[in-house]
């Protein structure tokens, strides 16, 4: 009798799990860089599929991946590859993280529009962000102190920038740490001595984009990976994406979805 009861309870639970997996509600959270891509593509996807409801939150790549581990989202948006530690934590909990590249991006180095410096090497960027160079005159610019603006540590953009530009070095303690790409762009636009960085999709007329190692971040240089700060943007799911989640990601990777990616200022996969 007891065994039968246990089997009935387990069967009810399994049905519940299956029902959760097959729902037409798709929940995503994570990277603020991927956010505009997710929002714009979700709107277009829901227009074509009115029975699917996609809800999207930001928070940072780390937050999205933790939510995937906790089983509270279907998609974790990430502007960096998942770390080995995160992958272990997922797999130990029965989550099989599967990466889908949805766009390409270059982390653009931004300065104020009035700043005449038009190119920086990766070595110079590292020197600026670690405090070895503190004035634009040392870089051929005006006699103006450099105001260093960076992203908060939960940001995937920070982690990619930290790895590719700084080689893991410590950011100068006087740096201003901001929580979003938009906040960085706005602050750089308002501060004549500022330097910051943001995804290509966030650039506007208020800031100047400098080339890195004499390579301008563009569709061509990001796609051929010659721009030093180029990267892939990902959506992670638990196992192979199926149902509404699979259809949504397939839509983003389709020519129609990739056109939206480019409209948002990012670079298409091909």
């Amino acid at each position: 009798m007891k065994v039968r009861n246990v089997i009935i309870i387990l069967a009810i639970l399994l049905i519940g799990v299956s029902a959760f997996a097959k729902t037409n509600k798709v929940v995503c959270s994570g990277s603020t860089t991927v956010l505009p891509i997710a929002q714009a593509t979700a709107e277009a996807f829901m227009d074509k599929n009115p029975n699917v409801n996609i809800s999207i939150r930001g928070g940072g790549s780390g937050v999205g991946i933790a939510a995937l581990q906790n089983g509270t989202v279907h998609i974790a948006n990430s502007s960096r590859p998942m770390k080995t530690k995160e992958m272990n934590q997922c797999r130990a909990k029965g989550i099989a993280p599967t990466a889908y590249a949805v766009a390409l991006d270059g982390i653009a180095i931004l300065t104020h529009k009035s700043n005449p410096v038009s190119n920086l090497t990766v070595k110079q960027i590292k020197a600026i962000y670690t405090g070895a160079i503190k004035n634009w005159k040392d870089l051929g610019g005006p006699n103006l102190p450099i105001v260093v603006i960076s992203r908060d540590v939960a940001s995937g953009t920070f982690e990619v920038f930290n790895e590719k530009a700084l080689g893991g070095a410590k950011v100068i303690s006087s740096a201003l740490l901001l929580a979003s790409n938009n906040a960085v762009v706005t602050s750089v636009a308002d501060t004549p001595g500022a330097i910051g960085y943001a995804g290509l999709g966030y650039l506007g007329d208020g800031v100047k984009t400098v080339s890195v190692n004499n390579i301008v971040p563009s569709k061509a240089t990001v796609q051929n990976d010659s721009y030093p700060l180029s990267r892939k943007l990902y959506m992670y799911t638990n196992g192979k994406a199926k149902g509404a989640v699979g259809s949504y990601i397939a839509f983003i990777q389709s020519p129609a979805g990739q056109k939206i990616v480019e409209n948002e200022g990012f670079v298409a996969l091909k």
Binding site: N88, G94, G239
Partner: protein, 361 residues
């Protein structure tokens, strides 16, 4: 001793000033315990404990000096073990070096740190009780030492190799002078498929010293310990099942009559309702079978059965709860009943709350 404490306090104050950022952490366990038992086998059962306590009061600083170097300093302020006032233990005080060795995802840790044995190092207290390794005194949860540990690429598992004092974080000074042999540890966990974790730990330890410091002759208390642990965890959807079996063989080179061995098996199951009913509630059950002295003289087997429910609330953006209300009932019984082995049961209600905040220096 006072100088040591002053230096320690200065270090704690100065180190974070050099850091890129500091994470402040805290975790408090407020517990109400009602225990039913008796003082000796001849008495009737009665309530022998009914009190509120702060079982743990962890406060931590986690300075990040660079991407490659991080620290952790955690103290435990508690009221539970003392008749008067509050106690203070240093739980962790270590530095992590991520790029000391040119192996990806490997960390070298130096200082008072976790002991990577069995389930003790990542026990998440889904149940109020300790991990079986800790509960049945097989290994300490923290110790002074040097470890290298890391992750196998692509999420295939993790490993650790360690050299410790072997006495645990609660012992220092005179306790350590009597032990001149370090403990060695090896731990491996593999995840062949998502949701299935297989692991094993091996530790060689000793306590006391062979020759007495304060006189001629051998020390009869000197002993060598071999500890082994097998670990299995299966997780599928909202359910997870964990099993652990451990053994401890202790030999006394100067008094072989005292040689002994112990073993313990523990199984626990968790059902998380969060993804099913959108209420963050867990149901937990656990069964332990422990033989603390596997010998003809003492054939007592201790069994403990625990059932419990957790209600998790105040979640952050990642759905991690800041607060947890836990209700557990444990029934402990002995196969041989005497004044040393008395059955008991306990009801515990615990409100656990935690916080963390990262400050930019």
């Amino acid at each position: 001793m006072k100088r040591l404490i002053v230096l320690l306090c200065l270090g704690v104050m100065i180190l974070p000033m050099m850091a890129q950022e500091i994470k402040l952490t805290g975790e408090m366990w407020n517990r109400w315990t009602v225990e039913r038992g008796k003082k000796n086998v001849a008495e009737e059962f009665s309530i022998i404990r009914n009190n509120l306590s702060l079982e743990r009061g962890y406060l931590g600083l986690e300075p990040k000096f660079s991407d490659a170097v991080k620290g952790r300093f955690t103290v435990d302020i508690f009221s539970a073990d003392l008749s008067d006032g509050a106690g203070l233990k240093i739980k962790y005080a270590y530095l992590d070096f991520n790029k000391l060795l040119p192996i990806p995802d490997m960390t070298t840790t130096i200082g008072l740190q976790k002991v990577y044995f069995g389930s003790i190092y990542d026990w998440d207290y889904t149940l109020i009780g300790k991990s079986p390794t800790d509960e049945y005194k097989f290994a300490n949860s923290a110790d002074y030492g040097l470890t290298v540990h890391g992750y196998i690429p692509k999420g295939w598992g993790e490993y650790a190799l360690g050299l410790y004092n072997g006495e645990g974080y609660k012992k220092y000074g005179a306790n350590l002078k009597d032990n001149i042999e370090p403990a060695f540890l090896a731990n491996l966990r593999v995840i062949p498929v998502a949701g299935l974790t297989l692991g094993g730990s091996f530790m060689l330890n000793s306590s006391e010293r062979s020759d007495l410091l304060d006189g001629p002759g051998d020390n009869p208390k000197y002993n060598k310990q071999t500890l082994m642990d097998a670990y299995l965890n299966a997780a599928y959807g909202p359910m997870s099942l964990t099993g652990e079996y451990m053994t401890k063989d202790v030999s006394y080179p100067n008094d072989s009559a005292k040689d002994m061995s112990a073993n313990c098996a523990s199984v626990n199951a968790v059902l998380k309702l969060k993804t099913l009913v959108e209420k963050d509630i867990d149901f937990v059950v656990r069964y332990d079978r422990s033989d603390p002295t596997d010998s003809d003289e003492d054939e007592n087997i201790v069994t403990a059965v625990t059932g419990g429910v957790n209600y998790n609330f105040m979640h952050d953006d990642s759905s991690n709860p800041a607060m947890q209300l836990q209700l557990n009932f444990t029934n402990k019984s002995n196969s041989v009943k005497n004044d040393k082995n008395i059955n008991s049961s306990a009801l515990m209600l615990q409100l656990k709350w935690r916080f963390n905040n990262t400050l930019k220096v």
